[in-house]
C-alpha cells in the first residue's frame, strides 16, 4: 500500500501489466521519450524499450488501425489518445474494426485493445481538449467503456482492462490526475471491471455519476446531509455495460434518481440510465429521474466552462428537484409541473 496520484497509479498499473505480459505494448503520440503530454507513460520507454513503448506518427486512425494489426499478430496494444477531441479521426477504426472483429470472425480473433482517453474539462484548455465523447462508444456493441475516479480504481482497472480479451475504452478524468490516494498494488479482492461502487450510502436520493464528477458528487452528498438529506452516491466505473443491479438496488431503496455527467444531456449516458432504471424500477420511483449534465453545446471557451460543467450547487439543485423541494425550476408559474408549459417556461 502506498500513496500516489491517479496519474501515477495508471503509470504503475501499466508497468505492472508490461512486466506480467511481454505481449503488452503501448502506442501513442509522444508517449515514449516525453512520457506523454500528461506524463502518464513516464519512464516506461526507458525501461521497456522502443518496441514496447512505441512513439507513433501523428495519425490517430493509423495508431488504431496498426493496433488492430498487432492484435492479429497476438499482441495486446494499449493505445493512448492524446486528448478526447483527437479520438474522432480514429472513430472508424474503433467502431468498424476494433469493435466488430471478434463478431466478424465468429470469435476466432480477439481485439484485446485498451484505449486510454484523457477526457473531460476543467483544466482551462482550448477547444478539442475538454470533451466527453464516451456516449459514442457506449452505443457501439463490441466495446467496453469504463471511467476511473480515484487512484485505486485507476490502478486496478487499467490492469483489468489490459487483461480483458475485449476492447476497452478507458476514460481518464484529466482534471483528477493529481488527486492522491492509497493504492494497493494487487488485483486480489478488487471489484470486477464491470461493477459499480457505492461511494457513500444514503436513503433519500440515489446520485449516479462517474469519472471526474465522482468527487463533486461525494462533496454534494456531504453538503446535502447538512440540510438533512441523505444521498447515496454511486460511481458507475463501467459505462458499458452499466451495473444495473447496483443502481437498481439503490433506487428501490431511495425511490429517487439523479444522474450527473459532464457530457451533453441528449443521447448521453444519463439518458440511457434514466430510461433503463425507469423500465426496471417504475413502481419504485417517487419522481422522474433527473439529469444534471453539460449542455448540448460544443465545449465552451475556458472562461465559460464553469457554467457548462455540473458543480456542487447544480447537482444539489438536481437533488432538490428529485425531492420536489424548492429548486431552480420552482420559480416558474407552473412549479412542480412537468407540463409542456412549465418546460417551455424553463427554457427546455
Amino acid at each position: 500500500m502506498s500513496t500516489m496520484t491517479l496519474g501515477r497509479a495508471i503509470n504503475t498499473g501499466l508497468r505492472a501489466a508490461m512486466d506480467a505480459d511481454p505481449k503488452v505494448v503501448l502506442m501513442g503520440e509522444d508517449i515514449g521519450t516525453l512520457g506523454g503530454v500528461f506524463r502518464i507513460t513516464d519512464g516506461l520507454k526507458k525501461d521497456f524499450g522502443a518496441t514496447r513503448v512505441i512513439d507513433t506518427p501523428l495519425a490517430e486512425s493509423g495508431i488504431m488501425g496498426t493496433a488492430v494489426g498487432l492484435a492479429f499478430r497476438g499482441y495486446r496494444p494499449v493505445v493512448e489518445i492524446q486528448f478526447d477531441g483527437f479520438i474522432y479521426p480514429a472513430f472508424d477504426q474503433i467502431v468498424s474494426q476494433v469493435a466488430k472483429m471478434h463478431y466478424r470472425t465468429r470469435g476466432a480473433v480477439n481485439m484485446p485493445l485498451t484505449i486510454r482517453v484523457p477526457f473531460g474539462g476543467g483544466i482551462g484548455s482550448p477547444e478539442h481538449h475538454s470533451e466527453s465523447p464516451e456516449a459514442y462508444f457506449t452505443h457501439t456493441s463490441g466495446l467496453r467503456v469504463v471511467s476511473v475516479s480515484n487512484p485505486q480504481d485507476a490502478y486496478t482497472m487499467i490492469r483489468q482492462a489490459i487483461a480483458s480479451d475485449d476492447p476497452v475504452l478507458y476514460f481518464e478524468p484529466k482534471r483528477r490526475y493529481h488527486v492522491k490516494g492509497e493504492v494497493q498494488e494487487t488485483l486480489d479482492g478488487a471489484l470486477p471491471l464491470g461493477r459499480a461502487r457505492v461511494v457513500a450510502e444514503g436513503t433519500d436520493v440515489t446520485l449516479v455519476t462517474y469519472g471526474p464528477l465522482v468527487m463533486t458528487a461525494a462533496d454534494a452528498a456531504i453538503a446535502a446531509s447538512d440540510e438533512g438529506v441523505s444521498v447515496e452516491v454511486i460511481d458507475l466505473r463501467s459505462l458499458s455495460p452499466v451495473d444495473y443491479a447496483t443502481v437498481e438496488a439503490s433506487v428501490r431503496k431511495t425511490g429517487r434518481l439523479v444522474i450527473t455527467h459532464e457530457a451533453g444531456k441528449s443521447g448521453g449516458v444519463g439518458a440511457e440510465i434514466s430510461a433503463s432504471i425507469t423500465e426496471r424500477c417504475f413502481d419504485y420511483l417517487e419522481h422522474a429521474p433527473v439529469r444534471v449534465t453539460g449542455f448540448d453545446i460544443p465545449y465552451p471557451p475556458s472562461k465559460l466552462e464553469h457554467h457548462h460543467l455540473p458543480d456542487l450547487d447544480r447537482i444539489l439543485d438536481g437533488v432538490d428537484r428529485a425531492l420536489r423541494r424548492p429548486n431552480s425550476l420552482s420559480n416558474f408559474p407552473a412549479a412542480h409541473s412537468t407540463s409542456a408549459t412549465a418546460l417551455e417556461g424553463a427554457g427546455l
Binding site: 493509423g62 494489426g69 477504426q93 468498424s96 465468429r106 476466432a108 456493441s141 480483458s164 443491479a245
Partner: protein, 399 residues
C-alpha cells in the same frame, strides 16, 4: 452507344505509361530485367497458374449466376483480375499473412479457403467466411482501405518478433484516396514493416474512373513515403509473380515495405448491384478484353507447346467440378439459428447482451419455434453451439 463525356481530371491518364511486362497479349515473351524472378517457373507450374485462373473465373461465373438466381445477396466479381490475384497469391508462404478487400476471392482460393466458406458472407450466413488463423488471411474487408493499416500493424509485430514472415495487403485504386492507406504507408515506412502494398488498379471505383483518384500513376506516390514501388502489367501473371517475389524478398530481408501497382481492369460490374453500362464506354471494355489474362497464358502455353486439348479439357472439368461443389454447398447451407446473432459480440460475459438474448429467447419460445429454441448459443466464448445463458436476470459483470 452513348459515350460518357468526362471532365479532364476524370480521364484515365494514369492507365498509360510503362510497366513491367514479361508476356505480351499474344503470348510472346518480353525480355526483362525481372526475368530471373520467374526463371524457376517450369511447364507444370505455368500450367498450374493457368488452371488456378480458370478455376477462379469459373467460381466467379458460378457465384454471379447464384446471385442472379437469388441464392446470394451480392457478389463482387473479379473478372479480368485473375492474373493479379493468382500471380501475387501464389508467391506467398503459408506463414505470410494476407489482409485483403472484399474482391480477393481468388487470393482466398489460393490460401485454401473452401467454396462453402467463400460463399458464406455473400449468402448472408455470416459476417466472415473463414477462420483467419487457419489460412493466415484476415476476413474480407468492406471499409475501403482499412485493411492496409492492419497489415502495417501486423508487420510491426513481425519486426518485433524477429521472423522473416511477410504481410501483403490488397486494395483498389479508389482506396489510395483514403487516409488509412496513406497512414499505413507512413507507419510501414517509419517502422520498416515487411508489408507489400498491392494496389489492383482496375481503373474504376464503382463509377469513378481512376483519374478521379490520381493525376499521376498511383505507383508514383509510394516513393514519397520512402517506399519503393513498381508498376506491373496486372494481366500478365508471370510479371505479377516477378514483382511480388521481389517485394517479398525485400520484406523478408529487412528492406521494409514495397508498393505494387498492378494495372488491370475490372471487366464486370463493381458488384452484382452495379450497372457499368451507365458510366463506361463499351469500346473500353473491348480494348481490355484483348488483354485478357487467361487467354494470354493459354497463348503462351500454346506457343511453347505446353497446351494440349487433353490439358484444356481437364482444366475445364476441374473448374466445373469446383463450380458444382460451390453451388451445392451454397444451396444446401442452412440458415443460422436465430440466437446466433448474439454470439461472439464479446469475448467475455456482458450483462446488457445477456439480458437482451434472454428476453429475445423467451419471445421466440412464446411462439414455440423449435428451430430457434433448439439452437441456443453463447453470448461470448468461442463455441458457437454452446448452451444459452438462461439463468435469472442478472446485472453486473461476472468478469
Amino acid at each position: 452507344m452513348h459515350t460518357p463525356v468526362r471532365p479532364p481530371h476524370e480521364t484515365g491518364a494514369t492507365a498509360a505509361g510503362p510497366y513491367v511486362q514479361l508476356v505480351r497479349p499474344d503470348g510472346s515473351r518480353v525480355a526483362s530485367s525481372y526475368d530471373h524472378w520467374v526463371e524457376d517457373v517450369d511447364p507444370d507450374q505455368l500450367r498450374s497458374l493457368y488452371e488456378d485462373m480458370v478455376v477462379i473465373r469459373r467460381i466467379d461465373t458460378e457465384a454471379t449466376a447464384l446471385q442472379r438466381q437469388g441464392e446470394l445477396g451480392l457478389w463482387p466479381p473479379l473478372l479480368g483480375q485473375e492474373a493479379a490475384q493468382i500471380g501475387s497469391a501464389r508467391t506467398l508462404r503459408d506463414s505470410d499473412f494476407v489482409f485483403g478487400s472484399y474482391r480477393e476471392n481468388g487470393v482466398a482460393w489460393c490460401r485454401g479457403v473452401d467454396p462453402e466458406s467463400l460463399m458464406r458472407v455473400w449468402r448472408g450466413n455470416a459476417a466472415a467466411g473463414w477462420d483467419p488463423a487457419t489460412v493466415n488471411m484476415a476476413p474480407a474487408q468492406v471499409i475501403i482501405g482499412a485493411q492496409a493499416l492492419h497489415a502495417a500493424g501486423y508487420g510491426m509485430g513481425v519486426v518485433t518478433d524477429g521472423t522473416d514472415d511477410a504481410v501483403i495487403t490488397y486494395f483498389g485504386d479508389g482506396a489510395t484516396s483514403q487516409g488509412d492507406v496513406n497512414e499505413a504507408m507512413v507507419f510501414a515506412a517509419s517502422f520498416h514493416a515487411p508489408v507489400v502494398f498491392f494496389c489492383s488498379n482496375n481503373q474504376w471505383a464503382i463509377s469513378e474512373p481512376v483519374g478521379l483518384q490520381a493525376q499521376v500513376p498511383i505507383a508514383n506516390r509510394a516513393p514519397g513515403f520512402g517506399i519503393p514501388s513498381v508498376r506491373v502489367d496486372g494481366n500478365d501473371v508471370l510479371a505479377v509473380m516477378a514483382v511480388t517475389r521481389e517485394a517479398l524478398d525485400r520484406a523478408r530481408s529487412g528492406g521494409g515495405p514495397s508498393f505494387i501497382e498492378a494495372v488491370t481492369y475490372r471487366m464486370g460490374p463493381h458488384t452484382t448491384a452495379d450497372d457499368p453500362t451507365r458510366y463506361r464506354d463499351a469500346a473500353e471494355l473491348e480494348e481490355w478484353r484483348a488483354k485478357d489474362p487467361i487467354s494470354r497464358v493459354e497463348a503462351l502455353l500454346r506457343a511453347e507447346g505446353l497446351f494440349t486439348d487433353e490439358f484444356g479439357t481437364a482444366v475445364a472439368a476441374r473448374a466445373d467440378a469446383v463450380a458444382a461443389e460451390l453451388r451445392s454447398s451454397c444451396i444446401s447451407m442452412p440458415p443460422p439459428p436465430a440466437l446466433d446473432i448474439f454470439a461472439h459480440v464479446y469475448a467475455e460475459p456482458n450483462s446488457w447482451l445477456e439480458n437482451q438474448q434472454e428476453e429475445y429467447a423467451r419471445y421466440l419460445a412464446m411462439y414455440g419455434t423449435a428451430d430457434d429454441a433448439g439452437h441456443p448459443v453463447q453470448v461470448h466464448g468461442t463455441d458457437p453451439v454452446g448452451s444459452a445463458s438462461t439463468g435469472p436476470r442478472e446485472a453486473g459483470d461476472r468478469a
